[in-house]
């Protein structure tokens, strides 16, 4: 059974249909890449999936349950984590605090326990701190642990945002342009991380990406979009040579 599936998903903004009847299925353990030109509706699609706004019509299924129209916080609570295209970090907090927020959905202590810092709240704080350290080690963020995010360089911020999503121990990780603005070395590191997360850490990854080197290198399944519709689907090689894809990237003569 698919981990994530959408059926005829449509999202309209006034008269503009940003996403038109998209049906997709992401299998557990897959690396699923979404490509497409600017304005193809990729980000809108994942915004609808992750509950930032409800679809105009169609359904979203996650882990066998219908999550259509659930708020972003409730979708996150079910084990779906995401990053944003224009990094959304907590700027005035330390890297550590940012990552600790990733653990938010796992908290069990009640407010009263937290206010009095009773044993359960203390134990939870320590456990969160420990699991966050694993993420720090995994992404090699040790050096930046106590730095305030607003002072960090772009590449590190991207890492922190990825780390925050990882800290929530998601089953499905959605990355919105994870390689944009990264140097080739950083992109190579990222490719390794994405593969490792899917192959060895039991995560399923959906990513929007323009870097075809990265997509071709790691994706099991590629979906191309144009004007809100799916135009091609399959392996990276298949999609890259698909006439409709060539058409929308390079113009009609190329096809």
């Amino acid at each position: 059974m698919s981990l994530l599936s959408t059926h005829n998903l449509t999202r309209q903004f006034g008269g503009v249909a940003a996403v038109k009847g998209v049906s997709m299925a992401v299998e557990p353990g897959d690396i699923f890449a979404i490509i497409g030109t600017n304005g193809a509706g990729k980000t809108t699609l994942i915004n609808v999936i992750s509950g930032v706004f409800p679809p105009s019509s169609g359904t979203v299924g996650f882990k066998g349950a219908d999550i259509t129209g659930l708020g972003a916080d409730r979708v996150a609570g079910r084990g779906l984590a995401r990053t944003f295209q224009n990094i959304e970090l907590f700027e005035h907090a330390s890297v550590l605090d940012n990552l600790l927020l990733g653990r938010y959905r796992h908290r069990r202590a009640t407010l009263a326990e937290e206010l009095l810092f009773l044993p359960r709240a203390r134990k939870e704080a320590l456990a969160f701190r420990e699991s966050v350290e694993e993420v720090i080690e995994y992404l090699e963020l040790e050096q930046w642990r106590d730095s305030t995010v607003s002072n960090l360089p772009y590449g590190i911020r991207k890492q922190v945002e990825l780390g925050r999503a990882l800290a929530s121990a998601p089953e499905l990780l959605i990355l919105d342009e994870p390689a944009s603005g990264l140097t080739p070395e950083e992109t190579a590191d990222l490719a390794y991380l994405i593969r490792d997360m899917a192959r060895n850490r039991g995560m399923t990854v959906v990513m929007i990406e323009h870097d075809m080197g990265l997509v071709g290198g790691v994706a099991d399944h590629v979906m191309a979009m144009n004007s809100g519709e799916v135009i091609a689907e399959g392996s990276a090689a298949h999609v890259q040579s698909h006439p409709a894809v060539l058409d929308c990237y390079l113009g009609t003569q190329a096809a």
Partner: protein, 358 residues
């Protein structure tokens, strides 16, 4: 740059990350506990007032500094707390129960205000809370059957388990304990998941939501807690002033609270206390300065306002992080002395390792 050598996660979870912090707070505690032995009654009362104001500013900080919900009407919560407490004491409730009532009633008002203004943020929220402050002040005046209206309300003595604590020294200690309790509660909140979620909704709502934070719930919680703590401070203020009138909780007080929080440094509990101390001492400083000024200048109206405005301008221009930010820099300087560099806090570009290699 200085890095702490940490050997246990509890160092990141504990209230005092370093030994120096422990020593500092222990010394501060001893000083404050011993202070009444050497201070005159005037200064004891003065200090008590500052402790109480610090409680109020910490309460304000929970909403404004942590959750980013700027309120311009927090004096209303102080007033609600003060009047509730005074009325409960008058009705013969024991002190601690009256205190709990004051905190609960202000919490309820915080809750209601939050629900009413959920859709607002930033300046709009500020205006809504400003109106709330004015409305509460007006109700306190108009509802004279209960509050005594403009004629005021006499506040009874704080009596705990049969001990009258209205003496200068006794009330000093009582307020000190209350402040320590409030700081402890606030610090506990901020090291727990819920407190960090408040920071999350301040800095990025979409990101907070994508991590499972329920924005509405957390905003309401921030205002409710903030109202409770501020009202708690109001209850103490009632005893400090001894006689309540609605004008005591006007917009000037709201602005003083905002000012203390901004000057202290938004987003930190220590900053709230530092700001409260500075703002709390201003009337004292003003009267000292007045005594050396020539008569014609000393009796001009409004020097306080000038100083408040001036302070705010100076801080916004030269130290937006407030007293707490200044303190952090001083601390870092002392820590690295004599290897400290002026450039440490100049914002520079930091490079990725791959960029450096080139």
């Amino acid at each position: 740059m200085h890095y702490d050598f940490k050997t246990s996660y509890s160092q990141d979870v504990g209230l005092f990350p370093r030994t120096e912090n422990r020593v500092f707070f222990a010394a501060l505690a001893v000083l404050l506990l011993a202070a009444p032995l050497v201070l005159s009654n005037f200064y004891i009362t003065e200090f008590t007032g500052i402790f109480i104001f610090a409680i109020i500013v910490v309460g304000y900080m929970l909403a404004a500094g942590m959750a980013g919900l700027i309120s311009l009407g927090h004096a209303a919560f102080v007033g609600i707390g003060a009047y509730t407490h005074a009325l409960a004491v008058e009705a013969g409730w024991p002190f601690l129960m009256a205190l709990a009532a004051a905190a609960s009633v202000s919490a309820v008002f915080g809750f209601v205000l939050a629900v009413l203004s959920l859709r607002l943020s930033g300046l709009y929220l500020g205006v809504a809370t400003l109106i709330f402050g004015l409305a509460v002040e007006h109700v306190l005046t108009a509802w004279d059957a209960v509050t005594g209206g403009a004629e005021g309300l006499l506040v009874g003595s704080p009596v705990i388990f049969g001990f009258d604590l209205s003496g200068y020294t006794a009330f000093y200690y009582l307020s000190l304990v209350a402040l320590a309790f409030v700081i402890w509660i606030a610090a506990n909140l901020m090291r727990s998941a819920t407190g960090k979620a408040l920071i999350a909704i301040r800095d990025s709502e979409p990101a907070a939501q994508s991590l499972g934070v329920n924005l509405i719930k957390l905003k309401v919680l921030a205002f409710t807690l903030s109202g409770a703590v501020t009202g708690f401070g109001g209850a103490f203020l009632a005893h400090r002033v001894g006689f309540l009138t609605p004008e005591g909780f006007n917009i000037m007080m709201s602005l003083q609270i905002v000012l203390a929080a901004v000057i202290g440094g938004l987003g930190s509990i220590a900053g709230a206390v530092m700001g409260a101390v500075l703002i709390g001492f201003i009337p004292e400083i003003v009267s000292t300065v007045k005594s050396v000024l020539p008569q014609s200048l000393a009796y001009q109206p409004g020097p306080d306002l000038l100083i408040y405005g001036g302070l705010l301008a100076v801080f916004v221009m030269f130290e937006p992080l407030g007293l707490y930010g200044r303190w952090k820099k001083l601390e870092a300087k002392l820590r690295t002395f004599p290897m400290d560099r002026k450039e440490t806090f100049v914002r520079t570009r930091t490079y990725m390792k791959s960029e450096r290699a080139r």
